[in-house]
Amino acid sequence: MPIIEVENLVKKFGSFVANDNLTFSVEAGEIYGFLGANGAGKTTAMKILCGLSSPTSGKVMVAGYDVAKQSEMVKQRIGYMSQRFSLFEDLSVWENFQFFGGIYGLSKAKIKERTSELLGRLGLESEKNQILGSLPLGWKQKLAFSVSIIHQPSIVFLDEPTGGVDPITRRQFWEIIYETASQGITVFVTTHYMDEAEYCQRVSIMADGRIVALDTPANLKAKYNAANIEEVFLKIARN
């Protein structure tokens, strides 16, 4: 059963068409890579999926609800991690978890339970009372991811989650993503690292507001006769 269904999505800003008739779907529990060059319209589409922006026309269903009409229901069921690091730097790790758990309406006991679970997975329990601003970027990114799934959403949207992070932390990050997907949380991720695209179960590649390719990494490489996704991407982007 698809958890995200997009049919003929169009988003215009004045005469500029940011999303030109997008149609795709994402299965529950899938890791879906949403690729495209800068300015291809990824962020716009992602904002619409999250209910931050409304489509000009077309039908967008997320977690069984219409984004345009039932955005409140959608928002309860999604998590979002933006490309900019976006936890509160002047709060401690625990205070951040407490705050974000609170805005999703989790009970105190539940927040405690989830926090120790998530911090345990990252091995950062001892940093619980550290002020976030004093931690290294890689840790902060992992914490931001944990915060985005604190309320156990059906889908988590990750907007370039590994930007500016070292290769080891990136690898660890993807381990966490796999673990999350194995718990049944759908992962919708954008990235500019093509090696990361290989980790996805399916990827779509956008250019000029349209989806020009959508398949498993293996099928895409075969179709475009390329050794890796990077080559596929370059072939598409240059056309």
């Binding site: 928002k75 309860q76 900019r84 976006s86 709060l91 705050f99 805005i103």
Partner: protein, 365 residues
């Protein structure tokens, strides 16, 4: 919602800069305006050239010097040296008694006193000259006592509401207004702009929280802090500066709360039009501070402004709040007299709230 407010307090209390702005500034400003920026003149150095030196001129001199407004400066040898002492700035006023003062007063029933003031500071000069003539005419009346005399007209002036003409009466309402405006509008606009800049606003908007809840969560702590500030300023001006609160204290606090809400909605509006914290700060400083100080009637009387500025000053929310504060604190008036000003501020608050909501929606669309 509770978590939101707690989080906002963490932000404020962990940032030394905002703590200083919040609690240091009110105290410093009140004390500065209360003590340093006084328009009253005390102990002005005065030189006296007495060509007659009889008992009348001596009596007038001692009356002048014991008034507290003047102190005797260095001796001036003669009229030719007056300009020189003024140029050195050691003397603010020179008083010259003509020769044979007492004799002339006795015989001709009139004698002359010349008063020369340094009008490079016109306000001070004006005040000093009028103090001098008041003291002289006071002496005149004592002198005439017991003499049967032609009819004299006596003016009796009464300074209502502020008999001692204390400048604190003028400054405290202004300081309260400026501080409430600055703290609430600037702090809220900066804190919201910060969330925008850091990207945390996006996360909040993706959450099930409604925009109105997010804004309320951001703003409520500042309502509380601004209110605490208003109390601090009132306590300081009451106990340290001797400012009276003649009217209803509850009414004053309620009006302050209304003004705080107005300033907050202005702050929210500023944050919706500024892209960064710096911009929010600059906008609040220049768009709010200067007009508040210059056009609200706080320092410069509105009646003396050119007509276009008078019209513009109507748009300044502080103008109306200063009137309210003065009416309640100094005149002791009730709501009956200030409902119009209250209505104007409430209207402004609604206007800014509506504008911000509209702006907010555009951004989301």
């Amino acid at each position: 919602m509770r978590g939101f407010i707690i989080k906002e307090f963490y932000h404020i209390f962990r940032d030394i800069r905002s703590m200083v702005v919040l609690f240091g500034m009110p105290v410093i400003q009140v004390l500065l305006f209360g003590f340093a920026l006084s328009t009253e003149v005390k102990n002005a150095p005065v030189a006296i050239i007495d060509h007659s030196n009889d008992q009348v001129t001596r009596a007038i001199t001692s009356k002048l010097l014991s008034s507290g407004f003047f102190i005797l400066a260095d001796q001036v040898p003669g009229e030719d040296h007056i300009e020189e002492v003024f140029r050195h700035g050691k003397v603010k006023e020179v008083i010259i008694f003509e020769s044979d003062f007492a004799t002339k007063l006795e015989k001709d029933r009139q004698a002359g006193i010349q008063v020369i003031a340094d009008a490079s500071d016109p306000n001070t000069a004006n005040l000093l000259v009028s103090y001098t003539s008041a003291i002289v005419s006071d002496y005149q009346q004592e002198y005439l006592k017991g003499m049967s005399l032609p009819v004299t007209v006596k003016t009796e002036t009464q300074m209502m509401y502020n008999p001692a003409l204390k400048s604190i009466f003028m400054f405290v309402p202004g300081v309260i207004t400026i501080l409430l405006m600055l703290i609430t509008a600037m702090m809220t606009s900066i804190s919201i702009a910060k969330e925008n800049e850091m990207g945390t606003m996006e996360i909040l908007l993706v959450s099930p929280m409604r925009p109105i809840q997010i804004i309320a969560g951001k703003v409520l702590p500042y309502v509380l802090l601004a209110f605490v500030n208003a109390l601090i300023i009132l306590l300081l001006s009451y106990f340290v500066l001797g400012m009276p609160v003649k009217g209803n204290l509850l009414l004053l606090l309620a009006e302050s709360l209304l003004f705080i809400v107005m300033a907050l909605s202005l702050g929210i509006f500023i944050s919706t039009v500024s892209k960064s914290q710096q911009m929010a700060m600059m906008l609040s400083m220049f768009a709010l501070m200067l007009p508040t100080i210059l056009l609200s009637g706080f320092i410069f009387p509105i009646e003396n402004m050119p007509l276009p500025l008078q019209v513009i000053s109507n748009l300044m929310p502080p103008r109306w709040f200063i009137i309210i504060v003065k009416s309640i604190m100094i005149k002791g008036l009730g709501f009956h007299y200030i409902w119009k000003e209250t209505l104007i501020i409430a209207g402004m608050a609604l206007f800014f709230i509506a504008l911000s909501i509209k702006k907010f929606k555009v951004r989301l669309g």
